[in-house]
């Protein structure tokens, strides 16, 4: 293992001074930067996506080993169905943060997903999301690719959402007339005005491939100079208790769904890809050992996949804890050595062009997170 604790600490040793509040005006003078969060619900297995080259893997998971993996570094291989991610890696616009997790060690999807979005420690106690709080602090607007506003984005005032429907919208001239029934200057009137000014692509009925459509619209919106800077996606189905399988298994299928979204974003963001960061988020990893159904149970440590031009370089960041049973969390799971919220806070600091400490204070109650901004992102 070349990635060891000492290297890691050196890499992250930069010190950031507590900054004064930063104004949005500053962000406006720079080229627009986008942050895309893809929530992988169900518990994404970091050990399947980015596999340590370790004999222990063969012992713990004899029936669900992935074949045909692609080599990333001397220590890690990539799942073969993450083709676009691999392409980004080769270009130097993809990296991985491994052995990390949100600070949640229970194994409930519901509590875990609640906490991955709120960024808090007690499930359901917090009613806003870390991204919403961060956007609010940076005074930015975002676009949620979902119908109900995701918890992750709550807390921000400037929100727009998009989700394709199979139903047809009334014609624009009809909407104009309906607007006449709305009290002038009311919130209702403003929202309808916003709808009427949407590009045609956002007003069409949905086709067959929802994830694809969402990614396409998000890419088009994010690439507009005056468009939103934040987009949030939801992908389901990572809870592979059974038939998780190897290269052709269910977990690979889900990783491929993520990869397809990445493909559409990369192809359609155009130059804006260079100023974009695409990050994954999940509630927990999966147990190190396979179960009787050739799947895996709920675990703890996992990986964050990062892509986009704002990624510093192709690299695996980890304070690697090892896979011997004494290294495992509760003797069963990959340990998380770094709080994943440090990665997210750094991503917001980098994309919103605000100081890490300022972001930490507003989005994460000034908890002791490590400033990873300079080591992970191009700023």
């Amino acid at each position: 293992m070349t990635v060891n604790r000492r290297d890691f600490l050196t890499a992250c040793g930069s010190l950031t001074l507590l900054g004064s509040p930063v104004f949005n005006a500053r962000a406006a003078t720079l080229s627009k930067r986008n942050l895309v969060i893809i929530m992988l619900r169900g518990g994404m297995d970091g050990l399947t996506a980015v596999q340590p080259r370790d004999k222990a893997m063969e012992r713990a998971r004899p029936d669900i080993l992935v074949e045909g993996t692609k080599k990333l570094t001397s220590d890690f291989n990539l799942h073969p169905r993450l083709e676009t991610f691999h392409e980004c890696w080769k270009e130097g616009t993809a990296s991985v943060f491994h052995a990390t997790s949100i600070p949640y060690t229970g194994r409930s999807h519901f509590d875990g997903q609640n906490l991955m979005e709120t960024g808090a420690h007690v499930a359901y106690a917090e009613k806003t999301g870390w991204l919403g709080r961060g956007m609010d602090a940076a005074e930015l607007q975002g676009l949620a690719a979902s119908l109900p506003m995701p918890l992750l984005l709550r807390g921000s005032a400037e929100l727009d959402n998009y989700y394709p429907t199979y139903m047809r919208l009334p014609h624009k001239t009809i909407m104009e007339k309906i607007q006449a029934s709305y009290t002038p200057g009311s919130e209702l009137e403003q929202v309808l005005r916003k709808i009427r000014h949407r590009p045609a692509a956002m007003l069409r009925e949905a086709g067959d491939n929802e994830a694809h459509e969402l990614a396409l619209v998000a890419a088009q919106e994010l690439s507009r100079e005056d468009g939103p800077r934040i987009a949030v996606f939801d992908l389901d189905g990572f809870d592979t208790h059974a038939a998780q399988g190897g290269s052709d298994g269910e977990h690979g299928e889900q990783l491929n769904n993520y990869d397809r979204v990445l493909r559409v974003l990369k192809d359609n963001l155009g130059d804006a890809y260079n100023d974009t960061l695409i990050l994954t988020l999940t509630e927990f990893g999966r147990k190190f050992e396979q179960n009787g159904g050739y799947g895996t149970e709920h675990g703890y440590g996992t990986a964050v996949l990062m892509a986009g031009g704002l990624v510093k370089k192709a690299e695996i960041h980890a304070d690697w804890p090892g896979l011997k049973s004494k290294d495992l969390f509760e003797g069963q799971d990959l340990n998380a050595t770094v709080d994943a919220r440090s990665v997210y806070c750094a991503a917001m600091a980098a994309c919103f062009d605000v100081d890490f400490a300022y972001m930490k204070r507003h989005a994460f109650w000034d908890e002791p997170l490590t400033d990873l901004t300079d080591s992970l992102f191009r700023v």
Binding site: F110, N161, M167, G292, G293
Partner: protein
């Protein structure tokens, strides 16, 4: 007479309904007793649905996961078949049919609005298949029959129901010094209480954080609640009736909000009942729930003088719900016309159906299901429509249910859905006489609405109803807010 009241307190009047001469008396007469569900088709019991769930979870977890461990596609196929067999993709639609039919046709729309209100107050979040089999039945069998007694009885029924216990993990709560807790520790396992249910009982269901309880109170209440479990068995997993299990119960007398709770009689299970009685009698409980009621029916900007009559009725009758409803009805009537409320998608949709006499929900004959194949398109549509309008009622994301203020319901995409649904509902042609009847009985300013509809037409002189009038009417501010 204020005609807007029929929409503010109910779902509005249909084009053929007679306008009640005494609106307040009309409303009050609906809240004394629980009306029957009006759905003319078969209604599965909570028990039957729990059996289906049991079959599903057991077969999935214990049988097919093992059988097809090496074959992802075969596993998926087997699981799909199992979903059909157990109605997993069907019952939620059937529940919506039962709910909407009852809302529109039970003859007591005011009661039905309150039914939807209580469901959201005691919300069950989208979690672990609950929406597929349990939540709808819970609204029918736990909430509804307890709506005309005391609030305390309603809370007791909800707190000890299978669905709420599963939803808030109380079966996973183990007193650290209980018998089970000791066994677990001997085996090197963790044994602690799960605070979810206790916290929400305080925060969301009864006194709310304004009562000033602390984390210590939450833990003490968790100790008292430990033992209220959904019994586990090998062939049904968690799908067995609720049973108090003294082996998980934390021994000792614990203090919640300044009062120590002691065991009465032979079983410590009575302690929870005693706590619930005190929580429901707490002044903050009356204030919190009354405020929520007024906010739901009257306005987002609740003032103390609006809530006071409801609180007074609550205190005078120890939370006897019909008395509380009657005070609320008065307040709603008094504020009709001066205060408006942005309706949530489901209530708005039901009002749209009621006023235009649209064919919804589909009749029982079209809800027949063979449990062998995928439910047909029409059957899927009920569930699908609720998703489309952004209000899949059995699937709020959090235990605090769906939001109840305009700001949270007013995003671009959510408004788009109302425009699109209005277009669909408007497909049914409505004769001019019927539309005019609806406008006359439901709007205090019917003339303004008619002027608006005339403005919307390309040729105002040809004033006759077409589907386009409905399409303009439903997403108009008159319909969205009342």
């Amino acid at each position: 007479m204020k005609r807007d009241f029929f929409r503010k307190m109910g779902f509005g009047l249909g084009p053929d309904d007679k306008v009640p001469a005494e609106p307040v008396a009309w409303a009050e007469s609906q809240v004394e007793a629980v009306p029957d569900l009006s759905w003319p088709g078969e209604i599965p019991t909570a028990k039957q649905l729990l059996d289906q769930r049991a079959h599903f979870v057991y077969t999935d977890r214990r049988v097919i996961r093992k059988k097809f461990k090496n074959d992802r596609r075969a596993y998926k196929e087997a699981k799909t078949q199992l979903r059909w067999e157990t109605g997993q993709k069907y019952y939620e639609s059937l529940e919506i049919a039962i709910r909407h039919h009852t809302a529109l046709h039970s003859g007591a729309p005011v009661f039905e609005r309150l039914w939807l209100f209580w469901h959201n107050h005691f919300a069950i979040a989208e979690k672990d298949l609950l929406a597929s089999w349990n939540t709808g039945a819970y609204t029918r069998e736990i909430i509804r029959p307890n709506m005309c007694g005391s609030f305390t009885d309603l809370v007791k029924a909800v707190t000890t129901s299978w669905t709420m216990i599963h939803h808030l993990d109380n079966s996973e709560s183990i007193g650290p010094n209980s018998q089970r807790g000791k066994w677990r520790r001997q085996n090197g396992e963790v044994a602690t209480v799960n605070e979810n249910h206790a916290r929400e009982l305080l925060e969301l269901h009864t006194v709310s954080p304004t009562a000033g309880y602390t984390q210590k109170d939450v833990i003490a209440l968790s100790y008292i609640m430990a033992g209220w479990e959904n019994r586990w068995s090998k062939t049904r997993e968690e799908c067995n009736p609720v049973k108090f299990n003294p082996k998980s119960h934390e021994p000792g007398n614990h203090e919640v909000m300044g009062k120590r709770y002691k065991q009465r009689g032979l079983s410590p299970k009575s302690k929870l009942i005693d706590v619930i009685e005190d929580l429901c009698a707490h002044p903050n409980c009356a204030e919190y729930v009354s405020t929520k009621l007024v906010r739901h029916f009257v306005t987002d900007e609740v003032t103390p003088d609006m809530v006071q009559p409801v609180i007074d009725a609550w205190r005078e009758t120890d939370g006897h719900l019909p008395a509380v409803y009657k005070a609320l009805i008065r307040v709603v009537y008094d504020h009709t016309g001066t205060h408006r409320k942005f309706l949530n998608p489901e209530v708005w949709f039901l009002q749209s159906v009621k006023l235009t006499d649209a064919p919804w929900p589909p009749p029982p004959s079209m809800m027949q299901y063979d449990f062998k194949t995928r439910p047909n398109k029409l059957q899927r549509r009920l569930r699908g429509l609720m998703f489309e309008i952004g209000h899949p009622v059995y699937r709020p994301k959090q235990p605090n249910g769906w939001p109840d203020t305009e700001a949270e319901w007013l995003s671009p995409e959510l408004l788009i859905r109302r425009l699109a649904v209005a277009k669909r509902v408007a497909r049914e042609h409505m004769p001019i006489g019927k539309l005019e009847a609806s406008l006359a009985s439901n709007f205090d300013k019917a003339d303004e609405v008619i002027d608006y509809l005339k403005y919307c037409r390309d040729h105002p002189e040809s004033w006759r109803s077409t589907s386009r009038d409905t399409q303009f009417l439903l997403p108009s501010e008159w319909m969205l807010k009342v």
